[in-house]
Assembly symmetry: C2
Homo-oligomer: 332 residues x 2
DNA sequence: GGGCGACGTCCTCCATGGTCACCATGCCGC
DNA sequence: GCGGCATGGTGACCATGGAGGACGTCGCCC
């Protein structure tokens, strides 16, 4: 392997000067800089990242831990995070938590073992009180849903506002019995709880009753679970005429489940999702959705992560992503 | 930071002994081993991966370079590769090539910079003759489509066989004018060329004419491109009664494009895709597809990569993934 | 029973490729 | 002649792994 030392010898300088050139630092004359660059070209030298990070303590890698890589929402987000990080000269390593406590804890442990400069964690299970978060060994930026008590940088989804807007929209389209397909709101502040509250707020805003609640619970956040919930909804005979689904992925399953029972969207029942994943506009019918600005979120998360690497003691910031409501065929 | 030296002092041994314990090597008595483990526990020691890889030349990281992270096919594959690698004690770093030559070359360059132990490359552009492939600085396992002249380990898709089976299936369902939505077959052996040939083989097998060819070219492998191609197909007035789409993602766009023109699937026109991504069974109508065994592919690719790290000189192997035809509503 | 070799166990020394903090050199102006 | 700046060099240091050697113990053989 060609080392910095070899380049230095070839260019007739010390390896520190080579290091300075490689890192674009000041204090190297143009003449010497050119000579070094030429020597690098000739020798085919490549920087050894292990050696650099051993000495400097930085790896240039940001961890991104998400529940599932192959849910459209997260894979889309991952793409945007990778791009944002690349523009700032960082690489991204993706971890999969499986939406399980063990997975999230693993991601935190890996952040130490693999020495991420920072970890962007889309936490579903852990909350701000868990000591594993503080013991991560690197700055952690929370992405998404839970309440972290202001102890971490946090890029949040507009869960309540978005869901409220979706519900109000359904009401304005004439729906009177609006159901929600979601996980069961649990203790603590998580996606389910916030979105459910947004749904209730929306009903209240238009004077619709939430009693008895038209909540059709999910077993997981998958298409499969969405379809099952839709089956249960129709089979219950509760005459729902509008549905908000907790994510687009779930909505895709609901769409299928309704078709299985011979219901047409939007004629018999209207449907709206959350996330606006790329697929949504191509479905038949195309799916209305709450569209948080994913690019903005990715950008913000990476920005916070990179900032905190440089200034570890800056107070934690909390940002809520902007969103818009995208109206398509499923709620026309 | 707690180092190996600290642990050694605490346990009253040399750091080499700690190293041996950490790496589960022979030649450490049970007593000493327990003492060391206890010292590790007490001190909260974490192995420094940078130092290890500087010394050993291995990082334990396998690179996975795919055209797009947020295409369902690739995100699904990525999940499976991550799992397969984890079972073998490796991590995966995902690179995005953008299906461009620059991106693929970048991935190869990164493989040196980030010192992957191996790179699994889903190449769309580079072929086996490109010298950048051999200069990767680590073993490369090709995943997918192109011909690499037996110079690399290669896990291939059943492109021709699968497409032929799909075409024959359409014919057997009564289709007489079967079109294909695909990129234009180009010089060299790539996905498009192989799948197009499979389509021609299928037509021939059932005695259907391919003259003039019913090829509706794509501008990219996206849903959007699929929809546009479908529009052009219908607007051309060529009375196609069956379509094979080059991927499920494209098929999803085609489905939408046909709906835009008021055509019903499968009543007016039948449609089949390739890849069997998770979404396909939930679409309305659910999408028939050629289903290569993705888990098998991921497993094989990782296995070849890990093997080659240990035995760099083993001759290259070529494997073709098994597949089955999944018949759903879109071709009933 | 004593000497010798083998073996199990652990340690010492050095290598790994960069980076950091500090130092040396030379040139300039005052 | 001296201080200061611009430029580049020096040697220690980061945490780990590998080779080979030291040390003690045990068994074997004469």
């Amino acid at each position: 392997m060609v080392t910095m030392e070899d380049v230095a010898r070839l260019a007739g300088v010390s390896k520190m000067t080579v290091s300075n050139v490689v890192n674009n630092r000041e204090g190297v004359s143009d003449l010497v800089r050119r000579r070094v660059l030429e020597a690098i070209r000739q020798s085919g030298y490549r920087l050894n990242v292990s050696a650099r990070s051993l000495r400097s303590g930085r790896t240039g890698v940001i961890g991104l831990a998400v529940p599932e890589v192959d849910l459209p929402y997260f894979s889309h987000l991952a793409t945007l995070v990778i791009d944002a990080a690349r523009r700032r000269g960082h690489h991204v390593a993706i971890e999969r938590t499986g939406a399980a406590e063990a997975g999230e804890a693993d991601a935190l442990a890996h952040s130490r073992v693999l020495q991420f400069d920072a970890l962007i964690l889309s936490a579903v299970v852990l909350d701000g009180l868990d000591e594993r978060l503080t013991g991560a060994g690197c700055p952690v930026v929370m992405l998404g849903e839970r309440d972290f008590g202001g102890r971490f940088d946090h890029v949040a989804m507009p869960n309540e506002e978005g869901m409220k807007a979706a519900t109000v929209h359904l009401a304005d389209q004439g729906c009177r019995r609006i159901g929600i397909v979601s996980g069961v709101p649990r203790e603590g502040v998580n996606v389910m709880t916030r979105r459910y509250r947004g749904y209730l707020d929306g009903l209240a805003e238009r004077g619709l009753s939430a009693d008895p609640p038209l909540l059709f619970p999910l077993d997981g956040m998958t298409m499969e679970a969405g379809r099952d919930a839709a089956h249960r909804m129709v089979d219950s005979g509760r005459e729902v005429d509008g549905v908000v689904a907790v994510t687009d992925t779930v909505a895709l399953g609901v769409l299928r489940g309704l078709a299985d029972r011979g219901l047409r969207v939007p004629d018999d029942i209207r449907l709206i999702g959350f996330d606006d994943v790329p697929e949504s506009r191509f479905l038949v019918p195309s799916l209305s959705s709450v569209a948080p600005d994913h690019r903005w979120m990715a950008e913000k998360a990476v920005e916070l992560a990179v900032q905190r690497v440089r200034a570890p003691l800056r107070p934690a910031e909390e940002h809520v992503a902007p969103f818009e409501l995208v109206i398509r065929e499923s709620t026309r």
